[in-house]
Amino acid sequence: MSFGQSAELLARIQFAFTVSFHFIFPAFSIGLASYLAVLNGLWLWKRDATFLKLFDYWKTVFAITFGMGVVSGIVMSYQFGTNWAAFSDKTGPVIGPLMGYEVLTAFFLEAGFLGIALFGRKRVGNGLHMFAVAMVAVGTLISATWILAANSWMQTPAGYAINDQGQFIPVDWWAIIFNPSFPYRLVHTVLAAFLTTAFAVGAVGAFHLLRDNSNRAARVMFSMAMWMAAIVTPIQIFVGDQHGLNTLEHQPAKIAAMEGHYETHVGAPLILFGIPDDAAGETKYALEIPKLGSLILGHSFDAEIKGLKAFPPDERPPAFIPFWTFRIMVGLGVLMLVVGMWSLWARFRKTLYSATWLHRAALLMGPSGFVAVLAGWYTTEVGRQPYTVYGLLRTSDSLSNIDAEAIGASLVAFILVYFVVFGAGVFYILRHVAMTPEAEDGLLHEGPTRAAGITPIQQLEAEGNPNV
């Protein structure tokens, strides 16, 4: 089952396929774990049953997501060896310990306390339960830190030497971990995980507000999600810009591909849309704004921006995928900003829970974080081709000594199993969040339901709850 393709291409497709699934689940569980910790903390602090209700409601989603993240993650940790043995042999001494630390500091922490967080509240009491929930959340963040250190090192390698077997040898661990792109990538990715979760939670809240805008739990989750969207999206756009400048410094070919520039320009235009054509060496049907590209990337109208042709043909990434995935990510970021600002306006007007169009928009934006995360990931990963370790180890030199048939067959197996298993998981999540979270206190139902929405807010505020 090689489908007439090379082992290299099949292995790349397999990696892209499995890592895409694996990236979606942790992106959600990183955000959800922190959200659960906040909800549990608020419950202990305010003793407001709505928070407990929401904790239990999202706990189920977290359990399903986390389970899928675990099983898809184990696949990743063995795939380096099965398909990318030469890469593992050469980079193992450097990135292996980073992943080893991820297991030791994060995976065990999450797994050890997950059982208590999910099942143990009655057994250990509220204090230790809160500790367990917090440890799960901290574990997800530590995990992100190590794996992004490893990934960033592959993008911007530092602190290494190469021995006579061609292996990368650690020289300076501080330089390896805090390699040039790591801080930017870490912040950008963790914020992306938080935004992904905010928009997913916000969509669920909006869905239930559209059905019944007096539902207390729906109000609380929608409000919390919209605060997150309004505050974090502008920060994320700023961080993304900084990350882009960092990429320009260390991986200019990737930027050229993202921008669709083949020629080097002084005063480069910003190509809004177009079809990059590597064979023709130009971006066809380009819709451009003069000089804006240089302004954004060089912070000057006349900055020089290198095009792909400034690099030898065998060192250029393919442009089409990074060009388009980058636009998808940025476009969704702009839409997130719009929704975030809209929610602030609605909040100011005291129509946050009655603004039907805002709720519809938020519902539509539910999957936006997942799509943006994947699009951003493709941008950065395809953009660093043809290398696995940027500038040093080619993807074609990273492969296992294994037949294309074996890789093709396992690819088919993974595709079938992932769609069945994770399709079912997503279905169960959607079915769960379609159920209305009931407000425990029931107070609101005495007020006007489906009314303009002003009265219930005042009722909530009268209860002294600032979080709605």
């Binding site: 099965t82 065990f108 199993v417």
Partner: protein
């Protein structure tokens, strides 16, 4: 002798052993699923491992990730050699892992996830056994690469080791259920423990008799002084564990059969260790040859020395929190 690579071989061996005994009983519970048709029994069975299985499986990630970090050459040659069993094991673990949640999320499709749990667990166990057998019988390496074909792992010997691991895990699972459950479920688990115990011992015997004739080096290890001292000692201790298992099961002890079954695994593992040393891939790659440079080994060793005891402490705590018999009415579902 106490080089960093040697210490790391010990740590990786410990991680693999921890994985085998801990996930062994989880997978064993899955393997035994078809023998318990009652829905209530199955809920108790999954709930008995639900709070701990994820931590147990993490040892497998440490074994894999750790191998890449400290013995990259072994990782880069063994995994391609075991390509098919590894992939099938991973697919089995996927079905097993998601079944814990999924089977509580649907009534109509629950039988599907129950079968996924059982078949996934059995497949994972069988493939781990096959991987072990394939490793014992040797892997062809040339020029820092796996040099064999992608079906080399499939031999009568590896199939026997595969069956041995499935039967052994079901012994762990059955004695775990004997420890964690009550009533009719426990009684049946005890009966299964007895059968699986006999099967496990028979298969340990078969594999042990077969192994020395695979490679001259194993033969020397087992029958020449001074290592013969250990190879005589291991069967003796195995007999002690077998007696403990039989005695515990016939006198209605709850913990003793489980500990005895663990003992069988630890001893078999020790026997393998004696046979392998100083190789990490028998006959092809020594511990020292496969090791990453000291800068990698020492960097991760600092973390392991501090963190592994802490991990063991909070893992122990998690087991302590969920100690005792599983209450059929408890569980968050």
């Amino acid at each position: 002798m106490f080089e960093l690579s040697f210490i790391w071989a010990g740590i990786i061996a410990f991680a693999v052993l921890a994985y085998v005994v801990l996930d062994g009983f989880d997978l064993g519970v899955g393997i035994l699923f078809p023998f318990f048709a009652e829905q209530g029994d199955r809920n108790v069975m999954t709930n008995s491992v639900a709070p701990v299985w994820d931590g147990n499986e993490t040892w497998l990630v440490l074994g894999g990730g750790g191998l890449m970090a400290v013995f990259p050459l072994a990782y880069a040659t063994v995994l391609p050699a075991l390509y098919v069993p590894i992939i099938l094991m991973l697919l089995g673990l996927i079905f097993r892992g998601v079944a814990f949640e999924f089977r509580f999320r649907t009534k109509r499709w629950r039988p599907v996830w129950d079968w996924g749990f059982a078949i996934g667990s059995t497949t994972a166990a069988f493939m781990q056994g096959i991987a072990l057998g394939a490793l014992v019988q040797g892997i062809e390496i040339a020029d820092r690469k796996y040099a064999g074909g992608w079906w080399d792992w499939l031999t009568p010997f590896s199939i026997v080791t595969g069956v041995a691991v499935v039967v052994g895990y079901s012994l762990l699972g059955a004695t775990w259920l004997n420890l964690k459950t009550t009533g009719e479920l426990q009684a049946r688990a005890r009966r299964i423990s007895m059968i699986a115990g006999v099967g496990t011992l028979a298969l340990i015997g078969a594999v042990s008799l077969w192994t020395p004739f695979l490679e001259p080096i194993y033969f020397e290890r087992w029958f020449q002084w001074p290592t013969a001292f250990f190879s005589a000692f291991v069967p003796l201790l195995l007999a002690v564990c077998a007696f403990g298992l039989w005695h515990g099961l016939t006198t209605d002890k709850h913990l003793q059969p489980f500990l005895s079954a663990l003992g069988l695994f630890v001893l078999s593992f020790a026997g393998l260790g004696i046979s392998f040393y100083p190789y990490i891939v028998p006959g092809a790659l020594t511990i020292a040859e496969a090791a990453a440079p000291d800068a990698s080994l020492s960097f991760l060793l600092i973390g392991a020395a501090v963190l592994v005891p802490i991990i063991l402490a909070y893992t122990g705590y998690a087991y302590w929190v969920f100690r005792g018999k599983v209450d059929p009415n408890e569980g968050y579902h």
